[in-house]
Symmetry: C2
Subunit: 743 residues, 2 copies
């Protein structure tokens, strides 16, 4: 119908009727207790404040106790029991959500053999076992000894029993092995002892194998995790530090997602790669050990002293090997045998999804998730995040069931399966619901480990979420700091000087360390990860010391990480406030113009670090400069239109159109053809960077590959291609921010 005819007789100079008429239509309850939503429903600060007050530290503590009572390795019966727990909570008639379902994928996991435990031993030339490393951690609290405590292993490391002279290879980076080679050390057939840090787990074995190494050991040096302390009375259960027998488990798989079904959900009928030809597994047997055992191996090595940077806190001079010193604990020609009996198994792993249907825009999803599976009890990783998730869903569910609140947009809570093996549950979810998530997801909030330590908030995310995290954290008091806000505390620990805002807390960027990875890198959904973390002036630990060990227990959290659980409460409030703001605000609180600041800084870094090199190859950055300027201009103008609309009386479709521009901006940075060799990485701004300069990854990586090739090489053509991909993405992004009827 056309407006003239619609009006019929109603002609005349009547001015705009106010908001009230619309509200009169949409907001009048249909019955006594079923509220009809107002199409203009906006964030209600009173309700938000009431939610903040209801988020209860004690309940989080009780959640954690229940969640971490037993080991719950992915696909184990205890993991499945937690699926049922989540379903029960989310289906509770008093405090549940609108609906909750578990969905199960059939995924390839890796486990040590129960019958043949992995073993690391020193073996004499005649074949006698002179020394064996522990095959499990010491039972210090009665929780490390049960049958469900998976022994330390390197998931996805292949079975095999290599034996050879031991060498010390520091962190097992490519550079570390090059250094050993430069020292004249023959690596062929050796066993390399490496320590955690410096590169990914699986990369240590990949690098080692390139040099002919036959097997890899990995340990955690007390210098890296315990601020140098290693004695029993300085470590758990006497402090938060890692005990000598503690071993970090972990996935050594290079990519993420189910290894056999890249880009496809791992449904039973899905096409699967042959495990023998699938890529990304460590090429050689690998096994992690504790520093107690590492010390015996390392402090007996012969050969030249390792460089100063390679030394640690085991109390001896670290030598390089190969082999043991003749007058040490073992005969000089003793070898190390690494026996790995890991098995690949197809297992069922479930995600649990809980949904609160949006009142006004149910087709806009704000997602909030954490994984559920742990290596052992996983009180910190991931259960203290799930404890927060359950408290938040309880408070929102209670309001929902009472009928006093329903968010404007839909909220999707997720408990992901098999994250520890490589973000598998979340990745399969994004593969299964690729289309609807790309069309409808507003943002993804990840709270994995909610509290690493109780000093300060730490947030990672893409630029559009900065403003909403700032807004939330300004309204919430930091625990035990006399009313100082979380924001004001945060800025003391992590800050940067923004050209636009001055001194602000610095938001970290997102790698692939948790389940946000498929959301941001594969789907282009604005994502964030929120936690409480360390005072870095008090510890230099790589991560909380019992990470991925059997000592990561409820008692550990309760006694050492966050006694009183006030940091947990702070994270629940911060993440909860962000969730509410995203789900309830009439105008989406995503500040896209903050991307301009990132683009500008990436550009400046490119100009400073790559400009001369590019010029030498006649590659101009001018189109990139222009594209960044266009983005800044379009984003600034959009900001002004938002402000104007907020002051006016917008119609609901005007708001929706604007919100669509904000929501979909992140998608415009995706190009599935940009990095075909980087599985899932399609975001041209956040794909992995090989260099240390914070700039555009495709351009930087292509430059570093082209650096030593000749003028006109295919590698230089790739630099130009990457530059064009980037320019087109930024121009396309700017185009989506311009007034919608402009081309």
């Amino acid at each position: 119908m056309q407006w003239v005819n619609v009006l019929g007789g109603v002609v005349g100079g009547a001015a705009l009727v106010g908001l009230g008429i619309i509200l009169g239509h949409f907001a009048i309850p249909k019955g006594a207790d079923v509220p009809t939503p107002s199409i203009f429903q906006d964030l209600d600060l009173e309700i938000l404040e009431s939610i903040m007050q209801q988020l209860d530290a004690r309940r989080i503590r009780e959640n954690l106790r229940e969640l971490s009572r037993e080991p719950h390795l992915a696909s184990s019966p205890q993991d499945e029991a937690l699926v049922q727990l989540l379903l029960q909570r989310w289906r509770d008639p008093e405090s549940g959500l609108d609906s909750a379902e578990a969905s199960t994928y059939e995924v390839l996991l890796s486990f040590p053999s129960r019958e043949q435990p992995n073993r690391v031993a020193v073996v004499s030339p005649t074949g006698n076992v002179l020394f064996s490393c522990r095959q499990s951690e010491q039972n210090l609290t009665g929780e490390q000894g049960g049958p469900d405590v998976v022994p330390p292993y390197a998931a996805y490391a292949p079975p095999g029993t290599p034996q050879g002279l031991l060498v010390y290879a520091n962190q097992g980076t490519e550079e570390d092995f090059m250094k050993l080679q430069a020292q004249g050390i023959k690596l062929e057939g050796t066993i390399a002892l490496t320590r955690y840090g410096g590169t990914g787990r699986g990369a240590k074995a990949v690098n080692a194998a390139k040099h002919g190494v036959a097997g890899v050991l990995v340990y955690t040096d007390p210098a890296d995790i315990n601020d140098g302390q290693s004695s029993t009375n300085e470590t758990f259960p006497n402090s938060w530090r890692l005990p000598p027998s503690g071993v970090e488990r972990g996935s050594y798989y290079e990519y993420f997602g189910d290894p056999l079904t890249p880009y496809l959900p791992a449904n039973p009928s899905s096409f699967r790669l042959d495990p023998d030809t699938a890529s990304g597994f460590p090429p050689i047997p690998t096994q992690p050990i504790g520093f107690e055992d590492a010390k015996i191996l390392l402090c007996n090595l012969q050969g030249a002293s390792a460089p100063a940077a390679w030394q640690g806190a085991l109390g001896c001079d670290y030598k390089l090997g190969p082999g043991f010193q003749p007058n040490g604990d073992f005969p000089g020609d003793s070898q190390v045998n690494v026996s790995v009996y890991n098995r690949l198994e197809l297992r069922n792993s479930s995600n649990v999804l809980g949904i609160i249907r949006g009142a006004v825009e149910p087709d806009r999803y704000v997602l909030y998730g954490n994984h559920r599976d742990s290596w052992v009890h996983g009180a910190v990783d991931p259960s203290n995040g799930t404890a927060v998730l359950l408290e938040l869903s309880r408070v929102l569910g209670t309001l929902l069931k009472k009928g006093t609140w329903r968010p404007r947009r839909s909220i999707v809570f997720a408990s992901w399966g098999a994250e520890e093996f490589g973000l598998i549950g979340s990745t399969e979810f994004t593969e299964e619901f690729f289309s609807k998530l790309q069309e409808r997801a507003v943002a993804y909030i990840n709270v994995d480990i909610s509290v690493f330590a109780n000093a300060t908030l730490r947030a990672q995310g893409t630029p559009p979420v900065q403003s909403v995290i700032f807004a939330a954290s300004k309204q919430i008091p930091a625990p035990s700091l006399g009313g100082l806000s979380i924001y004001d505390n945060w800025i003391r620990y992590f800050n940067r000087s923004s050209p636009v805002y001055g001194l602000v807390p610095s938001l970290g960027s997102l790698g692939a360390g948790s389940d946000y990875a498929p959301f941001i890198h594969f789907l282009g959904i604005s994502s964030m990860d929120i936690a409480y973390t360390y005072d870095r002036s008090k510890t230099s630990a790589r991560i909380y010391p019992t990470y991925h060990t059997a000592f990561d227990t409820f008692g550990y959290v309760d006694k050492f990480v966050d006694p009183g659980f006030s940091s947990h409460q702070a994270v629940a409030r911060t993440a909860g406030s962000v969730l509410l703001r995203l789900s309830d605000s009439l105008f989406l609180p995503l500040n896209v113009s903050d991307y301009g600041e990132t683009l500008r800084s990436f550009l400046q870094a490119a100009q400073q670090n790559l400009g001369v090199l590019l010029e030498q190859h006649s590659i101009s950055l001018v189109p990139l400069v222009t594209a960044v300027e266009k983005f800044e201009g379009a984003a600034g103008a959009l900001d002004q239109r938002i402000s104007a609309l907020q002051k006016a009386t917008p119609d609901p479709l005007q708001v929706r159109m604007l919100n669509d521009q904000l929501m979909l901006l992140e998608r415009t940075f995706l190009n599935p053809r940009a990095f075909p060799e980087e599985r899932y990485y399609s975001h041209v701004l956040w794909a992995p960077r090989t260099g240390s300069v914070a700039t555009f990854p495709g351009l930087a990586n292509a430059c570093s590959r082209a650096m030593n090739t000749s003028l006109g090489s295919p590698a230089w053509a790739e630099v130009q291609r990457q530059l064009s991909i980037l320019v087109v993405a930024l121009e396309g992004a700017a185009a989506t921010l311009r007034p919608v009827a402009d081309f």
Copy 2:
């Protein structure tokens, strides 16, 4: 704000207030002549009818006269003059659009040399030229002789001067060359004479080169284009038939889009492939000739008679060669020399975009386009489409400027450049605006050649557009048929039995024959192509006879194709009505459940034609059956929700959410990783199929490649992968159609 608080004191049992209050708010004019749009603005049938009446056959005729006055080859000064004409029309203060702009790309075109014309000659063993083919068409109407008439050539065929014995290779398909080889004919070093049809232009040269052929000639047989007629008095200007000297020009490039910038817009700064290594060009020199010349070559060949299906209407027995018969016009050992001097050139080519801003949902685009460039005058191809486009934009622009109408959604009119060289302008546009088009485009309407002949409507498109084309065509009278509707006339010529609707006109599927290709295959935007066409009982011509020749002139159209231009008017009305329905209807008239019928028929074809083969390889179609059923179920339920909502008083966001489901369905069938070797083809239902069975292309193609490989081969793994890709796409599509808060 939350509804309870918004309401304040207003509580009570008040029922829903009617539509009127909303309209009272949004539809009341702000001033005397600036209408405020109603948020419920819907298609106005009176306005639609008035537009139908205003579309004027005489104006279309005058447009065509102006557009086809001069040859306007892509990037020529005359092409540029038409850019200015379009801008002038679309900026006209009385009948123009809201805005109009030209955007220019720098693209790789191919032209014959002016200095060294291409030449095809019979050469004696001593090197004497015994016969030369015409280098231009005969000047029959005074329009074939000007300097701007590009001589016949095969665009993108490489330069070279091969010479060899002539063979006749029918249509130059792979099968044709295999047959020649099976006959013991040595193809190495020969010149192959082929006729148009049976396969793509460029494929003839690709197939020939595989067999060692040195050069290719292509002609149009009177059997294929003239219903066998070939004499001067039976052909143009005495009839619509192709004169003996007429030569079909065309692009011999294999892909579409600018050859040097795949997936990137061809901006001046964009990365370009090296033309020497870019793929898709014909591998050997190729030249098209007229049947007058082809007759002299073909009727002098020696050797065995060609098979019956290879015979044509040149009035002699077609022999296979190689070489000429001894007692013919040439010595038996004479050879044919093909001298091609084509050059690749980077040229500026422009698109022109004209926009009508939507009143209510300006961020939803209904696109309507045609190319502008022709090979010579191009009165039929493409100017009779552009003549319709200009008349339609004039009528809408006039209403717009008068202030009496503005569409609900934005309308984008486009005049594409360099389509004849490979859909270049439209492809570059989709590459440049990839993100915003994927987010916002409702549909793309293509009217290239508007009238091939004046018998009946012919439409191609994806299933969601079927219903709107039916609705439009039912309301418009077919020309000169006493009030019979276009629909009722159409069903007499093209029909099928639909399981859902019974006998209906059959909608063709979209290949890559015009500018809709990048919209449907690359971006997943529901697309259609609309034209008036032949009575197939009266002619079996491959296409209208003067296609791509210098005889495709205004007089040709005016006298032979559509005297009186009533078929042009019928197309303007049909396409115009479709455009209005898509841009103005409150509920988008895209019937997604019609996709269910296609999926079901593709599934049945797969079961019948591939079922046994797949079973032999233990590949089950059950997951595909389930996925199709899920789609049908979700689409059917969505239809019911639409009906219910249409009867109720929906709020504007409910309608928008539903329309988003309809608009975005087509996008869910895209998978950029499905067919990485098929440039731009990402739509898992409409990618090119090698076989003749109308079924899922990825599955069918993979099966035909795997057919003769062993169990467990990589080709069979690819069949399983393609099946999974398909199942995931259909499940994903169904998921987007379900109620939006379901997962």
